[in-house]
Structures are given as C-alpha cells and as structure tokens.
C-alpha cells in the first residue's frame, strides 16, 4: 500500500517539474504545427479571406512547372553536398586531432571551431564580400596562385552561385560534426586499438574495422541533425543569392518564405511547409531505422 502511494507522489513530482517545458512544447510547438496543417487547406491572406479549398494548395504546388518541386530538388542537391562534405571534413580532421603526440593540437582544435561561433548572417555576408567578382579577395587569391586568369563572376552565374552557397555552408557547419565525431572517437576504448595493433592491422584496416563501426551511432545522430538543419536553412542562401540567379539556389525555405511573405499566398506556403515536414520526418526515419537495425 505504501509503495503504491509513494509511486504516485513520484509521478506527481515528475509532472510538476516537467510542466513548464511540457506547456512550451504543447503551446509553442504542437499547436502551431497543427495550425499550420490547418492553414494549408485554405486560400487565405490570414486576415479576412479564408476560403476552404480542400487539397487545392497541395495540387497546385505539384502541378505544372512547379517552383516548389524545383526548390525541393535544389534543397536536396544542396543538403546532400553540404552534409557529405561536413562528414568527410569532420572525419578527416577529427581523426587527425585525435592523434597523440601531435604538436599544437589544442590550438588547431580551437581554430577549427571558430566558424561555428560566427553568426550565420555574418558568415553569409562575409563570404559574399570575399566572392565579390570585382573587389573580392577570392578571385585575387586564385589569380595570384595562377589557378584562374580572369575574374570569375561567382554569384551571378548559376553554377558559381550554387558553388558559393555550398562552400559557405560547408565552412560554417563542419565544426559541429567535427566535435561530435571527436567526442565519439574519445569514447572508443584504447584496448581495441591495442588488440588491432597486436594482430598487425594497418591504419586503414584499423580505421575501417574499428573506428568507423564504433562511431556508427555518433555519425548517425550527427547526420540526422545536420541534414535536417541544412535542409531547412534560410539565412545563408537568402543573404547571398536571394535564391537566384534563375532559381539556381532557390532552396525550399526561400520558396516558402517568398510564397508567404512576398506573394501573401499563405495557404500554398503552408502546404509546402507540410510537405517539407514530411520530408524531414522521412529523412529522420530512414536514419533511425539504420540505427535500430544494429543497436537493438
């Protein structure tokens, strides 16, 4: 009898302590999500015009020469290149920084973390200035190294602009992956490496048979966060290219922003956001299934 009573009070205290956060989650996340879902069935300016149009918004965003579908493809291209680069860079640098007897290790680690601490707005505008075709220092650097002869108009060509936004996103985002992997590396027991050494494994074998498998869960968690983060990213692309030239960098968050706040087509924008929600959910579930397959 007594244990039942104490169990109940324990429940009660748990609920009291999580109440504020639970309220935040409910009121500020779940309710707006559902509300966004609701708006997506209307043609509305959010003020006085609310026409229920059933699935028309969803049909519209997919029909004809759809900018939304195009922006999904741009986002997928952008995100996959960015995340893959983060992963390769993060792994390479983390493995190096995890070495013993490397001089100035702490200093390098600190320097390599710097991009993470600059606001995205600042990063976007800084690189926009560096890639400026007339006065930018990047063209000048490449010309000094004899890599190019003439100035490249980075941001006004379709391929150039795409390269620039990807480059900037890679620069800004790799440190997070780097620290996650570094933390993961440090949690791998030393004995495993010693055993491998005794068995005569070379460094490639050690990397592929010990390091990578042990990093699996860390890598997947970082991948999920990074993919979703860059799939929905807005400031970097918006401040560098506004989605142009000719939609070359028109990622999905820019498409939604413009549909809602420049064309005031809130219903259509909400429908797009709902689709993005399911895409992100899909991405997370794919990764999640990869985790559970092995761990459970």
């Amino acid at each position: 009898m007594k244990s039942l009573f104490s169990l109940k009070t324990e429940h009660k205290y748990g609920y009291i302590f999580i109440l504020p956060v639970a309220a935040v989650l409910g009121i500020l996340i779940i309710y707006p999500l559902l509300y966004g879902f609701y708006i997506s069935f209307f043609q509305t300016n959010l003020i006085n015009r609310w026409n229920f149009v059933e699935l028309e918004n969803y049909i519209n965003i997919f029909s004809g020469n759809s900018e939304f579908v195009n922006s999904i493809f741009v986002s997928i291209k952008f995100t996959s290149v960015v995340v893959l680069s983060h992963l390769v860079l993060g792994l390479l640098l983390a493995v190096i920084l995890n070495k013993k007897n490397l001089p100035f290790k702490e200093l390098f680690r600190s320097i390599l973390m710097i991009p993470w601490f600059f606001p995205e707005v600042v990063v976007a505008l800084l690189w926009r200035w560096i890639f400026n075709s007339m006065y930018g220092v990047f063209n000048y650097l490449l010309m000094n190294l004899n890599i190019i002869e003439d100035k490249i108009t980075w941001l006004s060509s379709m391929r150039g602009a795409f390269f620039v936004v990807v480059f900037t996103a890679v620069w800004k985002g790799y440190p997070l992956i780097l620290v996650m992997i570094l933390a993961g590396l440090q949690s791998i027991p030393e004995e495993l490496y010693e055993v491998a050494k005794i068995d005569g494994a070379n460094s490639f074998q050690t990397f592929f048979y010990i390091t990578l498998p042990n990093l699996r869960s860390v890598l997947l968690v970082s991948l999920i966060l990074d993919t979703v983060w860059w799939f929905k990213n807005f400031p970097i692309v918006w401040l560098m290219t506004r989605g142009g030239p000719v939609n070359a960098t028109n990622v999905v968050s820019i498409d939604i922003y413009q549909t809602a706040f420049q064309s005031f087509n809130f219903g259509k924008a909400s429908a797009s956001a709902v689709i993005v929600f399911f895409i992100c959910l899909g991405i997370a579930m794919i990764y999640k299934s990869m985790i559970t397959e092995e761990e459970m």
């Binding site: 302590f17 996340i29 707006p32 959010l46 800084l126 993961g184 929905k232």
Partner: protein, 277 residues
C-alpha cells in the same frame, strides 16, 4: 616505423595548417575590411593591410545606423530567453532525471524529435498567432518564439547533466527533511553550474543568431534584432562593406567570448547525450 610515423604526422600537420588557413583568412579579411576607408575598400588589387588604417567604421555603426537600438533589442530578447529557458529546462531535466512517471520516455524522445521539425513550418502559424495577440513588433513576441526553439534541446542537455550527479545526494537531503523543490534549488542546482553554463550558452547562441523569424515577426525598424539589422545593410548597389564588417565583428563578440571561455564545456554538454560512455 618511426620514420613512417613522422611522415604521417607531417601530413596531418599540413592538413591542419591548410584548414586553419581556410578558417582564418576570411576572419582576417573581415578585420582588414573593417579598418579601411571607403576608397581603399574598392582598390584593385585588394590590400590585406590597409594603407590608411581607420577605426571610423566602428564609430559610424553607432552614429549613422540604428545599431544601438538593434543591440538593445537583441540583448534584451536573448538574455530573457536564455534565463527563462534555463529555468524551465533545468526543472524539466531534473524532473525527468529524478522521478519516474508515465510517459517519461516519450517526453524525452519528443524533446529530440522537435529538432527535426522544419522551423519554416512554425513560421506562418506564429505570424498569425502573434498578429492576433498583438505581439508582432514586440520583444515578448520574439522571446516566446525563441523559447520554443531553445527549451527542447536545453531540457535534454540539462537532463544529461543531472544524470551525472549522484542521486544519493537527493536521498540524503530528503532524509534531512528537505522538500523536493528545495533539494532541486539549493542542493542539486548549485552543483550543476557547469551544465547550466553550457546549456545557457547554447540557448544564447541559438537566439542571438536567429534570422528568419526575427525578419518576419518584426516589421518596424525600431524592433529589429542585430542579425536582421546586419542583413539589411547589404544593398543592391554599393554596399558599405567596411561598416558591415565592423558591425559583424561586434555582433560576433558575445559568441567569441563564449567560445574562449567555455568551448570545452559546451562541447561536452552538447555531445553528452549523443555519445555512449
């Protein structure tokens, strides 16, 4: 064997030096630009060290642009968000770490799942709701929005930190007749300062950098935040890059301070939940 290790190390160092160069040269360029005059900024070939070094840009951002106001807005919004978010999330983290209750594991999972929601999905609903409540162009409006962004992961981080503090401490306090809330407030919380600091910095960084929601939810110039203010400086014609870089540097200072003092702890806090020990 020794020679092989040396070559390996040299190669590693070359990679690290190149990577550090790629990180530092933009920062150096930002500093260099901010110290230039308008004329020298548009000189070709560009100069790394300006002939005429001037700190005028750092004065102009306060006099010629409304950045005093923008910084005031940002500091007010971000510090309130951080404090409230820390308080709420430490409560939730403590509750989830110390008590068993129905739905606890789904609560914890949901905290992480929120990180996967695309924030654009919240943009239009927030715009509508804040409009109805008359909170567009207010500090409170943005504070509420940033609470939604920061509390889930902060709660998760605090949960991870509390898990590392022995529960025997709570039992001892409870035997001494300490109430649950007092145990949390006077015994466990003071021991959690490093965790609180890391979590607070995370909340601070998140909200200090936020751009899209501040852009949409403030239409009045006097209510803009620093990122939105900086973003509005880049025009279609001639941009005053020296002023822009000066204010960018100033806006990055809080982040860089956080970085130099607490980067290790922050990283530990962020990765604590993700890494199996």
């Amino acid at each position: 064997m020794l020679k092989k290790m040396k070559i390996n190390n040299i190669l590693s160092l070359i990679i690290l030096i190149f990577a550090s160069f790629m990180v530092l040269f933009p920062v150096a360029w930002m500093l260099s630009t901010s110290l230039k005059t308008m004329q020298e900024m548009f000189v070709t070939p560009p100069r790394w060290i300006p002939q005429e070094i001037t700190f005028r840009a750092f004065a102009r951002i306060w006099t010629d642009y409304p950045f005093v106001r923008f910084f005031y807005n940002s500091i007010l919004i971000v510090s309130t968000t951080t404090i409230v978010s820390l308080f709420f999330s430490s409560l939730a983290g403590y509750g989830a770490s110390r008590f068993n209750f129905k739905g606890k594991s789904s609560f914890l999972v949901f905290l992480l799942v929120t990180q996967m929601f695309p924030s654009v999905m919240l943009l239009i609903p927030f715009y509508r709701v804040l409009n109805i409540l008359g909170l567009i162009n207010t500090h409170l409006g943005l504070i509420i929005v940033y609470m939604a962004f920061t509390t889930p992961l902060c709660s998760w981080m605090m949960y991870g930190y509390f898990e590392s503090i022995p529960k025997e401490l709570d039992d001892a306090a409870s035997i001494d007749g300490c109430s649950k809330f007092r145990t949390y407030w006077q015994i466990v919380l003071p021991l959690s300062l490093p965790g609180l600091a890391a979590t607070g910095i995370y909340a601070f960084i998140m909200s200090w950098n936020e751009y899209l929601f501040a852009l949409v939810l403030t239409t009045d110039d006097s209510m803009k935040t620093v990122p939105v203010g900086i973003g509005s400086l880049v025009g279609q014609y001639r941009t005053a890059w020296n002023d822009l870089m000066a204010v960018s540097l100033v806006a990055s200072i809080p982040m860089l301070i956080a970085f130099f003092f607490l980067s290790k702890k922050l990283i530990g806090g962020l990765t604590g939940g993700a890494v199996k020990q």
